[in-house]
Symmetry: C2
Subunit: 197 residues, 2 copies
């Protein structure tokens, strides 16, 4: 086959993005060509810039355009409270809620014997370092409520036991949630953690 | 607000693509950063290349990286048969079927009194030019089976009447289609155009 033309090449690459398939990639590329000035040019530049600058924050593992991310360098954030999350998407979700003013530590996944992912792969040693150097008083384990997430939380809790106050996110009925649509595990957790009015 | 960092800027731009919202844009950007070498770099380059080279084929209105598109310059395509489509997405859909070996003419939309789109806006004059210069014997009106599409097809048929053989795509039951799920109009069309076995 001869070298595909630039438009076909762009469609192929776009189709590899999560959430886009060949059909939506074609639609997106046509849209981009139509909006060349407003969208295609800026997008090409933004991608080149991110490709050139994006890296992991050496401190917490967040993605950033500098060696240390804006959250770690922000003086107005609370020192002493670390929120441990699985990956950057979780950090962003926490940030959108706007309620947490401490700092983060991104593990980069969960422990998984099957996939050969141990503590060394997960930035857990770096978490221990930070406890000593940053005078951390509380570690919030904000891992996903999945089996892997909770296994990892237990492992970290074991490791840090006695060195720092450990907390985890509350489990229960989500805001706006209807009991009829909740799984049994959530209802059990919400019932066990019931609060006096 | 201060200048957003490159990653936030990229998320904002990605969220403006059709088929992506803020949530899927964030997911796509994280994926891109993770696959920097395999995907982000090539995608940035492909976008820059398309932004620099993409234009409308001067002959048929297809998008291309040159003044004349590969279909118009392809000597092995049949001269004399023109397939008229509304936009480039329709041309691509026809090409995927692989069955049409003639050339195309992309109108760039449909006539619409409401939106002020008349024949001059639609590359219809250029279609008439091509009839004379390219010795066209058949024009296939492959416009969408919508009211606007069919209005436009009627207008073009009126204009070209007597100058060339005019055909349109057959209407009927789509391959794999179940009668129960088809609209009344399609069933009526399929019944009226029924074929002797």
């Amino acid at each position: 086959m001869k070298d595909p033309n630039p438009i076909d090449k762009l469609i192929d690459l776009m189709a590899r993005l999560p959430g886009l398939g060949p059909r939506s990639a074609r639609r997106a590329v046509l849209y981009l060509i139509r909006k060349r000035g407003q969208l295609l040019h800026p997008l090409a530049e933004a991608m080149a810039e991110v490709a050139a600058t994006a890296r992991e924050c050496l401190n917490c593992g967040n993605v950033a355009s500098a060696d240390i991310c804006p959250i770690c360098t922000n003086d107005s954030r609370q020192n002493g409270i670390l929120c441990v999350v699985e990956d950057v998407a979780d950090l962003w979700a926490m940030e959108r809620s706007g309620v947490f003013r401490g700092r983060y530590h991104v593990l980069g996944g969960t422990l998984s014997a099957l996939d050969g992912i141990g503590p060394e792969e997960l930035r857990i040693p770096r978490l221990k370092d930070r406890l000593s150097t940053e005078r951390v008083t509380e570690v919030i384990l904000a891992l996903n409520a999945t089996i892997d997430g909770q296994t990892t939380a237990h492992y970290i809790a074991d490791q840090l036991e006695g060195r720092v106050e450990l907390t985890s996110l509350a489990q229960g009925v989500p805001i706006g949630g209807e009991l009829d649509y909740l799984d049994d595990g959530t209802i059990t957790a919400a019932l066990n953690a019931r609060k006096r009015l």
